[in-house]
């Protein structure tokens, strides 16, 4: 508890003790009024002060005002005990709320506790100094001891170790690093001493970006949250006028109709009405639910950039996925080599590897890997990349073209299509077809279950987009039981495909796109929700997506959807429960059936229950994801 909270607690205890004693004091009239005024002022002076200040600043109709009017009114009617009790319970409720919210805020922050406190900076004379990570400049040398967090992104200069990425990904998958490897801040150094040269400033490091993202997530408010804000805006004044109508309108009407006015009775009802009406339960529990959901998800390595995305995610009906890197490992291996005519397996592979030697595409990498030798850069010239087709280059003076079927057709060559699934790289030399290499990508172990879980989570349709050939794509789709496949797509076609899907879906249905965030940034931003996967160490993915999965387990897609659904269910539960109970009690209050004590329950009790319910959002049942 903070100092402020402790002070309120003391006031509550003091005032409660006095009230208990006063219950046995047989004072009457003005003496009773004076005696009850003591605990009332002890507990409520700040509320009264705020209410007066509020009126002076033109900010009437807040909860302080409601409480002040209700309790002062009760005193005026001679119900001293009730008046003081209402204030007492109101303060107890407020204290509870502030403690509960503070605690869950700290819990959530603890889940996201990846902020490094210091960096061990190595000085020129070789001695170490503990400094604030923000003070470390790019290119400095820092030392990370076993058990410490890596404070800043960097490259290993000396030493080797195993890193624990669990604070970032939610799963403790050890990552081995040695001299020359890049280290991501936020990981914990498990075994050896590491000396790093920093490659970024602290503010640009992974850990800062993630913290920034999570801390700002509650700034982007969900529609439901905005609804509550608007609701509170109209609700409180409406209730105040309602109370006024009860207190003045009904007795006046009675007088006009010739009945006794019954002022006391109707004013009591109006005051009860005011106590019930306090909108705190909604105003506090809804943001708390969203915050809990986002916090719980981030502990599982799922970063959600705002409450609005959490809300959208829960309505997801279509999941469109990129194939490479999302459903497959994105690790390509040459599995078959089919030379034609005078070419041998070795010469075909060599030509393909040379032609693709400048490309960073995973397929090119796997060709070079299969070739196994360094490509002499001088042998290759005149390289042209044709997006979505392949490359052409001069290798040892011969014109080599390597790419897909489209490239061959462009060159006016016909190539046989292999039976096996995979990506085919056709090679033509000096305009003559020379054969093909088959490169297969391996499916992730979790992909099949991930798709099943999506279906179980009520996803209507799953679609896979890929630049690969039809056969390879369809074989993957069949293995994973994906509903629809769009193959042989250029990067810009993917945006078109997603737009077509967006146009054909229902208005309330949400389309999520999942990609690895590297080549599909436009698609990520075009879809209703962009989910980037395997984002550890990729700034581009963190920037472009609405939801970031820190590791590359596709089952987290369904987990994220489940978390969002649970969170939204709790949000709606709280809205219906709080508004329902309040409305019921308001009606009872207006009819004179509700006592001041019921009113206190409707205010404080409902809020406590709603807050406790909201805290459930924090708990994520990941099932057997870790197993």
């Amino acid at each position: 508890m903070t100092k402020k909270q402790k002070r309120v607690l003391c006031r509550i205890l003091l005032s409660f003790g006095l009230m208990v004693i006063l219950a046995f004091v047989p004072a009457e009239g003005i003496l009773k009024f004076g005696l009850y005024l003591i605990p009332y002022l002890i507990i409520g002076y700040d509320i009264l002060k705020k209410a007066v200040l509020g009126i002076l600043h033109g900010e009437v109709f807040d909860e302080n005002f409601l409480m002040a009017v209700a309790t002062v009114g009760a005193f005026a009617l001679g119900e001293y005990q009730e008046g003081a009790a209402v204030m007492l319970f109101y303060q107890i409720g407020e204290l509870f709320q502030s403690v509960a919210v503070g605690r869950s805020r700290r819990n959530i922050s603890a889940l996201m506790d990846i902020r490094p406190d210091y960096a061990n900076l190595e000085k020129e004379d070789g001695s170490l100094e503990q400094v604030d990570p923000e003070e470390v400049e790019i290119g400095s040398v820092i030392v990370v001891k076993p058990g410490e967090k890596i404070p800043i992104d960097g490259e290993v200069l000396e030493g080797s170790s195993v890193l624990n990425t669990s604070a970032l990904t939610g799963e403790s998958l050890p990552r081995e690093v040695t001299v020359g490897d890049a280290c991501i801040s936020g990981c914990v150094n498990e075994s050896g001493l590491l000396k790093l040269r920093t490659t970024k400033e602290f503010g640009e490091s992974t850990v800062s970006k993630i913290l920034d993202l999570v801390e700002n997530s509650s700034m982007k408010k969900a529609r439901t949250e905005n609804f509550i804000t608007r609701f509170a805006h109209y609700y409180t004044p409406t209730v105040c006028y309602g109370a006024l109508a009860l207190a003045l309108g009904v007795p006046l009407l009675n007088l006009l109709l010739g009945h006794p006015a019954a002022w006391g009775d109707w004013i009591t009802r109006a005051l009860t009405f005011l106590v019930i009406s306090c909108p705190c339960a909604l105003v506090i529990s809804i943001p708390l639910s969203f915050f809990g959901g986002i916090g719980g998800a981030s502990a599982k390595g799922i970063l959600i950039k705002g409450s609005n995305y959490l809300e959208l995610l829960s309505q997801t009906k279509y999941v469109v996925m990129d194939k490479t890197g999302t459903l497959t490992k994105g690790v390509f291996q040459v599995t078959e080599i089919h030379p034609e005519g005078q070419f041998t397996r070795e010469s075909l592979l060599e030509l393909a590897a040379c032609a693709e030697s400048y490309s960073n595409h995973p397929i090119s990498k796997s060709l070079r890997q299969a070739y196994g030798k360094e490509v002499d850069a001088e042998r290759v010239s005149d390289i042209q990349e044709i997006s979505g087709h392949g490359v052409t280059a001069l290798v040892d003076g011969r014109k080599v073209a390597a790419g897909n079927g489209k490239l061959m057709r462009q060159l006016g060559l016909s190539a046989d299509e292999p039976e096996a699934a995979g990506t085919v790289v056709y090679v033509a030399v000096d305009g003559v077809y020379a054969g093909y290499l088959l490169i297969a990508d391996v499916l992730k172990e979790e992909s099949a279950r991930a798709l099943k879980e999506l279906k179980a989570a009520g996803i209507k349709k799953t679609v896979m987009l890929t630049g690969d050939g039809k056969k390879a794509a369809e074989s993957v789709a069949a293995q994973l039981s994906i509903d629809e496949v769009r193959s042989e797509l250029l990067p810009e076609d993917k945006v078109e495909q997603v737009e077509a899907l967006l146009a054909s879906k229902g208005k309330k249905e949400v389309l999520a796109f999942v990609g690895d965030g590297i080549n599909d940034a436009p698609v990520l931003s075009r879809a209703d929700i962009g989910i980037a996967m395997g984002a550890l160490g990729s700034d581009a993915a963190i920037e472009a997506a609405d939801i970031v999965l820190m590791d590359d387990n596709p089952r987290k897609i369904a987990l994220a959807i489940r978390i969002s659904r649970k969170c939204m269910r709790i949000v709606y539960e709280n809205i219906v429960f709080a508004i329902g109970v309040k409305f019921l009690c308001l009606v009872l209050g207006a009819l004179g059936k509700a006592s001041m004590w019921l009113a206190i329950f409707a205010d404080v009790g409902v809020m406590v229950i709603a807050v406790l319910n909201a805290i459930r959002c924090l708990k994520v049942n990941a099932g057997d994801l870790e197993a």
């Binding site: 502030s98 805020r105 509650s218």
Partner: protein, 72 residues
């Protein structure tokens, strides 16, 4: 220009009031207050002097919520 300030505020409704008050201050293009993270994001209008504007923001917030604190 966008800046984030640490704040101290007791209730969600008060945070909402601060947000409304801050957004109305001259020189502020947009303001959001997060009760959960106890932070205020202020986007300043073009050419506004952040320091001077924040003084006004603080005044405006104190007016609607006397208990709040903005750490400049």
């Amino acid at each position: 220009m966008k800046k984030t300030y640490k704040i101290e505020v007791d209730c969600a409704n008060c945070a909402r009031k601060m947000e409304e008050a801050a957004a109305k201050v001259e020189g502020v293009a947009a303001a959001t207050v997060s009760f959960m993270t106890q932070k205020m994001n202020v986007e300043f209008a073009e050419g506004a002097d952040a320091k001077a504007v924040m003084q006004d923001v603080q005044k405006a917030c104190k007016k609607v919520e006397s208990d709040c604190e903005i750490y400049l």
